[in-house]
């Protein structure tokens, strides 16, 4: 199983939605970390665990840009099948992120 820890692989201070707003944005995380690992998980037919723990916190815009953004580039159903979310610090984030993925799906239609 592949894994991403946002704290280990990206930053402890996740930022805003887009790169022009500031450092460690959701768009940056999507393009530099999430998309390559997701592609690898698809190729090798593995699950991808995303660990949200250990950071200072998340703005909704970061989560939406990263995971909603992933669902805008790939089929949301497929994203939900492959990506497994882990958040012991803030368990509500798991449902929130899944909602963004499904809302991205609604935006596609």
């Amino acid at each position: 199983m592949l894994s991403i820890s946002i704290l280990r692989d990206f930053t402890d201070t996740p930022g805003p939605r887009s790169r022009d707003e500031g450092k460690h944005s959701g768009d940056q995380f999507l393009e530099e970390i999430l998309l390559p690992r997701f592609a690898e998980a698809v190729q090798t037919n593995q699950k991808l665990t995303v660990d949200l723990d250990g950071t200072e916190g998340y703005a909704t815009s970061f989560l939406e840009a990263a995971f909603g953004g992933l669902a805008r580039k790939h089929d949301p159903e497929r994203v939900l099948k492959i990506v497994v979310f882990k958040s012991d610090d803030e368990p509500h984030l798991v449902e929130e992120v899944k909602k963004y993925i499904l809302e991205a799906n609604a935006a596609r239609k």
Partner: protein, 330 residues
């Protein structure tokens, strides 16, 4: 041959009367819009000192009308004077008012001298010193450094997660004795910075041109950390994208005003200015954090609206607040 129209006495009288009317209108307009007169760049040492009495309750969250009126007066008087702030009779000061006062002083860009007296009330004096206020104004007498809080003015061309982290550490250490993470506060701070970057300049200007000011104050007595986020932009109601026809209909037929619009924004019912369905989650995200108990005592003041979200007290103010102020505790 008939007399020319423009040389008749009747026409001359008409022109004179129009001239008098227009002159009167221009003078009245000047009086009404006194705040838009640009800051005089006269060297400050040639300017007289004007004394301004700070309200006894200097608090935007507790005494919004009087405090905002004072801050507007500060801005007006500073156009042609150096200032002496009389804080002696002040018996209540809160961190939000200090933040806005600092923003006003910094806006002067060193072109005016601002001095003043310390409050006689001990707790007010302590708050003023400990909040970091004197990092931004000069004091004749040496003062102990502020340890309980920090005021951090920044340009909003960037959302600064590191600044948010640092201020949360300072506030939590002052309140609880050791630095702690506060994910609700972090999330709210990043949302606020992002909102300033994207919306505070309104429609006509480029993004990232407005300034935000962020203050944190840790209170060991009641074990709370107080956050004030101020953006000096156009305010929520001048930046939000609303259908004008719908707005007019709601105002005249349903009796709705900016209070109702703010409630709708918080509940995520107002679409983002970008028109994208997945955008516009900033203020609703802060509201959700409040509902889930991750932050407390949420108060939002913008343009003519005061909203104590925690107590459900939504009010129309008698005066316009220049920008947006978001206050919460954790």
């Amino acid at each position: 041959m008939s007399k020319k129209l423009y040389s008749t006495q009747k026409w001359k009288n008409y022109l004179k009367s129009r001239q008098r009317y227009q002159l009167r209108r221009t003078r009245e307009r000047g009086r009404r819009r006194r705040e838009v007169i640009p800051l005089t760049r006269t060297r400050f040492r040639h300017l007289p000192f004007a004394t301004l009495a700070v309200p006894s309750s200097f608090s935007i969250i507790q005494n919004p009308n009087e405090t905002i009126a004072f801050l507007r007066e500060f801005r007006y008087v500073a156009q042609r004077n150096n200032l002496t702030l009389d804080l002696a009779a002040t018996t209540c000061i809160t961190i939000d008012a200090i933040t806005v006062l600092i923003a006003e002083i910094l806006r002067l860009g060193g072109t005016r001298l601002v001095n003043g007296s310390l409050p006689r009330n001990e707790s007010c004096r302590d708050l003023l010193i400990q909040s970091g206020f004197f990092d931004h104004v000069r004091s004749r007498n040496p003062l102990p450094p502020g340890k309980k809080g920090k005021i951090s003015p920044r340009k909003s061309n960037q959302v600064e997660g590191d600044t948010a982290k640092e201020l949360i550490r300072i506030g939590s250490e002052a309140a609880f004795g050791s630095p702690r993470k506060c994910r609700g506060a972090y999330s709210a701070l990043v949302e606020c910075m992002s909102n300033t970057h994207n919306h505070a300049t309104g429609k006509r200007e480029a993004h990232g041109a407005e300034t935000w000011y962020l203050t944190v104050y840790g209170d060991a007595l009641d074990g709370s950390v107080r956050y004030t986020f101020l953006d000096t932009g156009v305010g929520i109601f001048r930046s939000v994208r609303l259908n004008n026809l719908k707005k007019a209909y709601n105002r005249f037929f349903k009796g709705e005003d900016h209070r109702h619009i703010l409630k709708d924004i918080l509940e995520g019912k107002v679409a983002s200015r970008t028109g994208l369905p997945f955008r516009g989650k900033g203020l609703p995200g802060i509201y959700k954090s409040f509902l889930a108990g991750r932050i407390k005592s949420l108060i939002i003041i913008s343009n003519d609206v005061y909203a104590n979200v925690a107590s459900g007290d939504y009010r129309i103010l008698g005066t316009q607040f220049p920008g947006t102020l978001v206050y919460w505790e954790s």
